[in-house]
Symmetry: C2
Subunit: 123 residues, 2 copies
DNA sequence: CCCTCGTTGAGAGTGATTCTCACTCTCTCC
DNA sequence: GGAGAGAGTGAGAATCACTCTCAACGAGGG
C-alpha cells in the first residue's frame, strides 16, 4: 500500500455516493494534488482485485463506480437523478437454484439492481 | 422502419447469443453490405427506445449487448467464457418491497444477473 | 553506496460509441 | 410532375472512459 493507494481507498470509503473514477480523482487531489489519472485507475484496480472495494456498473454501465462497502448488498438506482442507494435484501436460495436448474452453470454469485424514482424525482 | 432498421431488428431477433453491436453489424452486412456503422448504432437506439429490443450491460459492462426477447427475464453469465444464458425466475414481490422499504424510491423494475461457470469452463 | 524492482505521472493510444455533415430518399403540396 | 421539407444514411472525425508506455523515482537489501 503506497500513499496514493491509501488516498484512493480513503476517498472511496469516505464517499456515500458510489463515486466514479472522475469523482474519486477530484476528491483525492484535494489532499494529494499531484496524483496522476493513471495512478488512480491503477489503484482502483489493485483495490478491487484485493477485495478492499468493489466495482459497480449501474444504469447504462458507461462509467465504472466504486463502493467501499464490500459486504454483500444490492442497489437501488433512481432513473431520474441516477443516484444509487444501498439496500440489504435476502434473495431466497430457491431463486438461485431455480436459475441454476435452467442452465448448466454453477452459479456462485449474483447482482440485483432495482430501478425506480426517488422522492425528489417523482411527479 | 427503414430497410436498415428492419435488417438490424432481424439480426438481433435471429441471434441466440445476445450480440454486441459489432456482431450485429457483421451479421447485417451479410445481407445489406453497404450499411454503415453509425446506422447500426442509430437503429439499435431507435429499436431500444421503441421497446422492440432491450440493451444489456453484462459482466464488465464494456460493450452493450442486445436482446430480441423483450419479455421480462434474467441472465446467467459465465465468468469464464462470458456467454450469456436466459433464465426465467420469479423474484418474490416481498424482495422488491423489502428493497423499497429501505429507501424512499418507488421501485418499478429490477435486473438480476447471475454469475458462475458453465459446463465448458469448469475445472 | 549501488542495484533492483515496484510504483508513479505524463502523455499517447485504444475501443466503443456518438457526432457532424453532405447527400439521398420519400413525402406532401402546389 | 416538379419543388421543397424533413427524415435517414454512410463516412469519417470526434469523444469518452479507460489502459498502455516509458522515463524517472524511491524504498529496501546487500
Amino acid at each position: 500500500m503506497t500513499p496514493q493507494r491509501e488516498a484512493v481507498l480513503a476517498a472511496v470509503r469516505s464517499s456515500r455516493v458510489h463515486p466514479s473514477a472522475e469523482e474519486i480523482i477530484r476528491q483525492v487531489r484535494t489532499t494529494s494534488p499531484g496524483i496522476g489519472l493513471a495512478t488512480v485507475y491503477r489503484s482502483l484496480d489493485v483495490l478491487v482485485r484485493s477485495g478492499r472495494i468493489t466495482e459497480l456498473r449501474l444504469g447504462d454501465g458507461a462509467v465504472a463506480r466504486y463502493d467501499g462497502n464490500v459486504r454483500r448488498h444490492d442497489h437501488v438506482v433512481c432513473s431520474g437523478c441516477e443516484r444509487v442507494f444501498d439496500v440489504e435484501v435476502d434473495l431466497p436460495s430457491s431463486v438461485v437454484s431455480a436459475a441454476g436448474g435452467q442452465v448448466d452453470v454453477d452459479i456462485d454469485d449474483y447482482d440485483l439492481e432495482f430501478r425506480g424514482r426517488c422522492e425528489r424525482c417523482r411527479g
